[in-house]
């Protein structure tokens, strides 16, 4: 009995500091933000009503969903292609693929967004080069628009899409593929009717991760969108710092959390968390 009690005490003492820290520094202020959404500038549901009626907010929501959907499809497809080589290539191919996945993964989002500015801007690499060979006379508008945002976000999210796919591909039994080939199926057919369906859990997991991440994306759209292609996270920032309307910023945040929470709940009905690592 004494040992039991001291065990419980020990656990409580060890776990308390972190739990206390997060309650005070995260849970409590989040409730404060929720309170803002109901009380600023006047108490009531006014801010949530504004979300449903304000044209600007609506268009930003729709743009965010559209960009997130495009980025998800492109990132998962691109990640799939490179993951196949990373998991199933020859040792040399695997090393190159791993380098190309991990180096961008570890480089900060700012550096990567800046790299795209250097490539895509009016005096950037691509426009300078295309003008030098006489292909175009006026620089193409590749950045400060939705195209730039989609390119930058896809680049940021491909490495995140790789990990669930890699985990699904690694757990796939090779003998199934050999059996398909042995029964006379072509390489293409084996890939599309056996390999892809058997990695479905990885595809769902990585699509969900990319989609959820792109909903709350801030830095890349702010830099590559140049203020013209505002997404939901940047709208929150603008509502807090530029046209001080804390209540609306808080209300958008609350809606975003609820939406992401619902998506995660759906995700975990299909995929167990362990499969995502």
């Amino acid at each position: 009995m004494r040992a039991y009690l001291s065990d419980r005490m020990g656990a409580a003492l060890l776990m308390a500091p972190l739990l206390l820290f997060l309650v005070l520094a995260y849970a409590w202020p989040f409730l404060g933000v929720v309170k803002w959404s109901f009380t600023l500038p006047t108490p009531g549901l006014g801010q949530y009503n504004a979300l449903l009626t304000d044209d600007l907010v609506q268009s930003v929501f729709i743009r965010t969903l559209r960009i997130a959907a495009i980025v998800t499809v492109v990132s998962v497809a691109a990640a799939y292609a490179i993951t196949v080589v990373w998991v199933r290539g020859t040792p040399a191919q695997r090393l190159v693929a791993e380098f190309c996945i991990l180096v961008p993964f570890w480089i900060s989002v700012l550096t990567r967004a800046f790299g795209w500015v250097a490539l895509l801007s009016n005096r950037g690499l691509i426009n300078t080069w295309l003008q030098a060979i006489g292909f175009i006379s006026e620089p193409l508008a590749l950045v400060r628009n939705e195209f730039g945002v989609i390119v930058g976000m896809t680049h940021f999210l491909i490495p995140f899409a790789v990990f669930p796919l890699a985990s699904a591909m690694r757990s796939l039994d090779d003998r199934v593929l050999l059996a398909a080939r042995g029964l006379g199926s072509s390489r293409m057919r084996t890939f599309w009717s056996v390999f892809v369906p058997m990695t479905r859990s990885g595809i769902i997991g990585s699509a969900m991760i990319v989609f959820v991440f792109s909903l709350g994306f801030f830095v890349t759209p702010a830099i590559l969108g140049g203020g013209r292609s505002v997404m939901i996270a940047e709208l929150i920032y603008l509502r807090i710092f530029q046209s001080p309307d804390w209540g609306l910023g808080a209300a958008i945040s609350v809606v975003l959390v609820l939406f992401v929470g619902a998506l995660m709940a759906i995700l975990f009905r299909y995929v167990r968390p362990k499969q995502l690592i």
Binding site: P17, A25, V85, G89, I101, G124, L125, H155, F218, A233
Partner: protein, 268 residues
Amino acid sequence: MPTYRPGPVSLVIAALVALFLLMPLLAVIPVSLTPSRMLAMPSGELSLRHYRALIEDPRWIDSILLSIRIGVVSSAFSTVLALCFSLGVWMFQPRFTAALVGFVLLPMVVPPVVSAITLYFLLTSMSGVSSFFGYDTWLGVAMAHSVMTVPFATVLILVSLSQLDRRIDLAARGLGATVWERATRIIMPNIKFGIVTAALLSFVLSWEEIGVTLFITSVNAITLPRLMWMGLRDNIDPAIAALSVILIIITVLVLALRSFVVRMRGAG
């Protein structure tokens, strides 16, 4: 070993994706060598003036030192908290473990912009209490970064604990070791690689943190990413290209070193 290798079509598509992934990292190299004061491709002449600016302009040095200080403090803080928490979970396996771990992981899954507005609320409220901890102070930033990095540190330490053999702890317990002795002399030496990794990852995450930092700093606590952000928003400063090249080289070197260490550990 996989017997089923990717065919030529897969290899070509994967190579295009690889090129796409590396392109923006390579593009900063020529920009960093431009003699121009604005973002442009060098035409003919190359110059190292933007690298010199990084050393000579005190703003860059100050923000690098500040970022290191914040990174070290927040990484130490979040690693210690994560370690204690994970030891509690592993040694005592309390009820509601899943719910408690889920709560700790929240800052990792909640959209960063929502964490940012939450921490903005926290620090502006604390500004009224103390001028050391509040909005736009380095301790406030370190605290906010700890909130953001502690889930990652916890995951890494919990993963390395899950690979540990429970019987060595049971043996120590049977021989009469106290909780403190079990934790410090039996368990921690066996997961030191995980603890070091957690501390390093926390430092790197704090060093690059920008989403939350933008919300909680204005003029005093200018971390390196914050300074880069300012240079990117107004008219683009090529010194950012020089800095990016240096950061990319460091990343590549550290990754190469890491894969070397992992290979040596695997061999030994």
